[in-house]
């Protein structure tokens, strides 16, 4: 049997499909439950109960929402470019899924353990901008267009500081492979020595996923919903799911870059009993909880404040910190040795 899976082409392809499904299916269920978690946690923070009617503790709420959305009418505005209008949610959703191919959930336990993993993640998350721009343009609505422009400018601005933060992590790792990045944190998680960068990355992740307090591309009081005003039914649902999948992805990136990925907090007995994936899930859940906590706590930024924070605070700060990291590692001889052709 093992012979069939490892040594024939068909077997390998079947194995890859199964591996992919083993990531995608839990991810989709996780996204569904993240919407419930958000409502529940925010409700608890506002001293009320979240959804608690559908199923035990409201656990079926996410599925009720999904089924409702499937049976809604997909309204396509008369001025819209039909093909692009439907392509945009499709693109957003599939890109949000696609990024998960490289996330390692254990030592070497990724669907694709590629050598330029972090670059791949950066590329895929950059492509997400297209979904928003296309949706905003294709709807032929002024709100959608402005929302699309705002989202694109915001994502693009914070991507620069995310890139610089990643470079300073790479300085301490010496490899672009996500597995190596986690393994480099065996002794100390990068959130301790690089605490300011950890904060910059986390806030940029909030901005990158259009989360409160940076959710003004969708500012419901002025732009009604931003680039997806005109969407309904599962076309809207795909944007929604894509956005939440991106939230989980960003939390996973925070965990992998700064919180030691699947590693337990200490490499001693009671901590090592739990398997790696469980630790990663704990860390992702913690980050998601902070995402929701921030949403329930802070008022929305103004657009000029948002741009000022991105370009005038985070960019210079992360640039200087990156140079300081490089200088420090050079001076103390702590630079990781990159051997051979890797």
């Amino acid at each position: 049997m093992a012979q069939f899976f490892y040594h024939t082409l068909i077997g390998q392809i079947i194995l890859m499909v199964l591996e992919t499904l083993a990531v995608l299916v839990p991810l989709l269920i996780g996204v569904a439950y993240l919407t419930l978690m958000e409502r529940k946690v925010m409700a608890a923070m506002q001293m009320r109960r979240g959804p608690n009617v559908n199923g035990l503790f409201g656990l079926l709420q996410a599925f009720a929402d999904a089924i409702k959305m499937i049976f809604k009418e997909t309204v396509i505005p008369s001025g819209a470019n039909r093909a692009l209008f439907l392509f945009a949610p499709f693109l957003t959703f599939s890109l949000a899924m696609l990024a998960w191919a490289v996330i390692p959930t254990g030592n070497g336990l990724a669907v694709a353990n590629i050598n330029v993993g972090i670059l791949y993640l950066l590329a895929i998350s950059s492509l997400g901008v297209y979904g928003m721009l296309i949706a905003g343009w294709a709807s032929n609505s002024k709100y959608a267009f402005l929302g699309g422009l705002r989202s694109a400018a915001q994502m693009v601005s914070y991507e620069v500081s995310i890139g610089l933060v990643i470079v300073s992590v790479l300085l301490a790792v010496g490899s672009l492979n996500l597995n190596d990045i986690v393994l480099a944190q065996r002794h100390v998680w990068f959130c301790l020595p690089m605490f300011p960068m950890f904060i910059v990355f986390f806030i940029s992740a909030l901005a990158e996923t259009n989360r409160a307090p940076f959710d003004l591309p969708e500012g419901e009081s002025e732009l009604v919903a931003g680039f997806f005003v005109e969407y309904s039914s599962l076309a809207f649902g795909l944007f929604f799911l894509g956005e939440y999948a991106n939230m989980i992805l960003m939390s996973a990136m925070v965990s992998i870059l700064f919180l030691g990925g699947w590693l337990p907090p200490l490499g001693i007995a009671p901590f090592t009993w739990l398997p790696g994936p469980i630790w990663l899930i704990f860390k992702i859940l913690f980050c998601l909880f902070v995402f929701i906590w921030v949403r329930a706590t802070f008022p929305r930024y103004r657009y000029d404040q948002l741009m000022r924070l991105g370009w005038k605070v985070f960019l210079p700060f992360s640039l200087i910190w990156m140079i300081a990291t490089a200088g420090f590692l050079m001076a103390t001889g702590l630079l990781p040795q990159t051997g051979g052709i890797n």
Binding site: E19, M69, E73, T74, L98, N140, A153, L176, L315, I323
Partner: protein, 121 residues
């Protein structure tokens, strides 16, 4: 070559599956939803008013400026990646070369800042 293909085959399969799932969900909604469009329903939403004109018009030049700045700084990050990974082998000379590159870019950044290209008032 073979190993590169081998590394990326899971990515391709992953991509194919996620595209299939997205298409299936969209198709399912289009098929099962009760479609009943009429003129009022399909006009663009402008708070209840009739849409005044086409939305694809002029937009603020600052969005363009941000896009240009992004291209420059993203290129900078693209140059930083190989430098960061191989810094242990290129030594002080490599470090100083990158510092020179970054200071040129820094001067450009200061110029943009003083010109007010980063302001949104």
């Amino acid at each position: 070559m073979q190993s590169v293909l081998g590394d990326y085959a899971p990515v391709l399969i992953f991509g194919a599956l996620s595209v299939t799932i997205a298409a299936a969900m969209l198709g399912m909604a289009l098929l099962s939803g009760h479609q009943k469009p009429y003129a009022e329903k399909t006009t663009a939403y402008e708070c209840g008013f009739e849409a005044f004109d086409d939305a694809r018009r002029r937009f603020d030049v600052r969005f363009y400026l941000v896009a240009i700045l992004f291209i420059i700084f993203d290129l900078e990050v693209a140059f930083l990646f190989p430098w960061a990974v191989s810094l242990s082998r290129i030594g002080l000379f490599g470090f100083l070369s990158m510092l020179a590159f970054l200071s040129v870019l820094g001067i450009g950044f200061l110029y943009e800042w003083r010109k007010g290209a980063l302001d949104w008032d």
